[in-house]
Symmetry: C2
Subunit: 329 residues, 2 copies
Amino acid sequence: MSKPVDFIEVWRGDLVECVHQGHAVVCDERGEIVAAWGDPAAVIYPRSSCKMLQALPLVESGAAARLTTEQLALACASHNGAAIHTTRVNAWLADLGLDDDAFRCGPQMPDDREAREGIIRAYGSPCQVHNNCSGKHAGFLTLTGHLGAGPDYIEIDHPVQQACKAAFEDVTEETSPGFGIDGCSAPNHACTLHGLARAMAFFASAHNRSDTRSMSADKLARAMMAHPELVAGEGRACTSLMRAMDHKVAVKTGAEGVFIAIIPERKLGVALKIVDGATRASNAAIAAILVKLGVLDPNHPATKAHMFAPLPNRRDIVAASLRPTAALL
Amino acid sequence: MSKPVDFIEVWRGDLVECVHQGHAVVCDERGEIVAAWGDPAAVIYPRSSCKMLQALPLVESGAAARLTTEQLALACASHNGAAIHTTRVNAWLADLGLDDDAFRCGPQMPDDREAREGIIRAYGSPCQVHNNCSGKHAGFLTLTGHLGAGPDYIEIDHPVQQACKAAFEDVTEETSPGFGIDGCSAPNHACTLHGLARAMAFFASAHNRSDTRSMSADKLARAMMAHPELVAGEGRACTSLMRAMDHKVAVKTGAEGVFIAIIPERKLGVALKIVDGATRASNAAIAAILVKLGVLDPNHPATKAHMFAPLPNRRDIVAASLRPTAALL
């Protein structure tokens, strides 16, 4: 068991103020490790970084036959609750003949400023559709309807979650050591970082295979790359990095410092975890690894914004900023 | 140079999801280390945890002669920008014949929900008085007036900042290796964790001495303990822990994972730094150390709320929670 590696430093003045450690793995289509930092056997919760795995049963079951690529992107999204997200998820719910009450994700105040301030000005409260996972849950509801299953689709023994677990274990090629309850109340299965990178390499190489699962995986990755703004939102790392890579790589963040990448042109999968769970560090680390792999332009403004993220103070003076360590450069 | 120690774990389901490492030092009135975790020589930015040091020149110069204990508490505060804070700081400004424009801290949206939503509903923007550091800056302005100095009181060569640096170096008993610019644009001088704990022991033992600096230090610590709600705000660790300790210990958070404690009854000073900068972990770690020192009741609800902080999800299910490691128990 290797120790985690110093990934990201926070510099203020001439001194390092903070250090974020992490583990990372790059896998090829055979699931072999091409590059690793820290411990590939580290057990993690992928959190939202594995939403495309949780969407596999939706697609391969045929339940998604009439869904658009926008809807597939939303099924894999951790969105900002902006109007572009909630109008689409609400329309999807209506197509299913359901409303917000069918969700089991819980309400969340949107990260999108306009949406948030609109709710506050109306003396309102957020709905479940504002939850960053509402697209994933619309996917769960679609599969629930297809299977004719009961309404509590987030329970671990519900057919939807059993299908998610089976797909997760198949594609990570691991027996999950356990699950936790996610922010949106769905089960989240643990795996090793190697297992998560292996799963992402499965997605990255899916276009070369013609089985149903591979075709479903490829469809989901392409939907994410086609709609970066639906997968996260303006200013967010997922959205701006996918745009910066000209829609040729799918990336996805997960809570508590997880990030994955799916690189179809190279048939590579990437997974990383910041040990302390900091999103600022996982954003910077995935950008650094994508630059190192040659798929992200180091001079693109989005790269600089995340990899060397400035931390401006209350007068917009850049008093501190992030810097990847030599290990990632 | 000892390595940092695992301080706080995040547990989700049956697995550790995150780990936060840190350094901590407890000093007695002679500045000797009574207990330490990790590296006492670790160099840190104290950030807002040293506001009582930055307020020393205000008091010992005589500039604070007519200030109330509430104003002294606000000078040491990182407040929520609630009405109880901003009305007092605005009145203080008016006493000085100044208004919000005199500040150099920059505007900040208040953490206090009522204040924040009020600004949003009025389609307004926050003022500088809402900045969590506005009390410290009112103190700087008071000293500026007393000294007849210029308006840019946050510049490193301004008499106010020179006095702050001299007091900081005297009380930490160190030559600062450098400074950074803080979130509020004031210089923040680096020191070792030992130096910061030594300074806090100076405050904790000040009531036994009769020199001007010691009497000033004692006055500031007593003002903090007397007004926990002014030092932070409802629900915040500083406020609830000072109340839980029956106003007998002063504690203060600093950005990027710093926390200090001043324990007058034991003449002990405590300083800790979470290496990755996480506030959730510094809150938990200071509570654990205060329990270990016997000054905080392990069964008090405020102790449990921070030391074993639940991380509820969007449906208020406690899906994860913090746990101090054996090192802190």
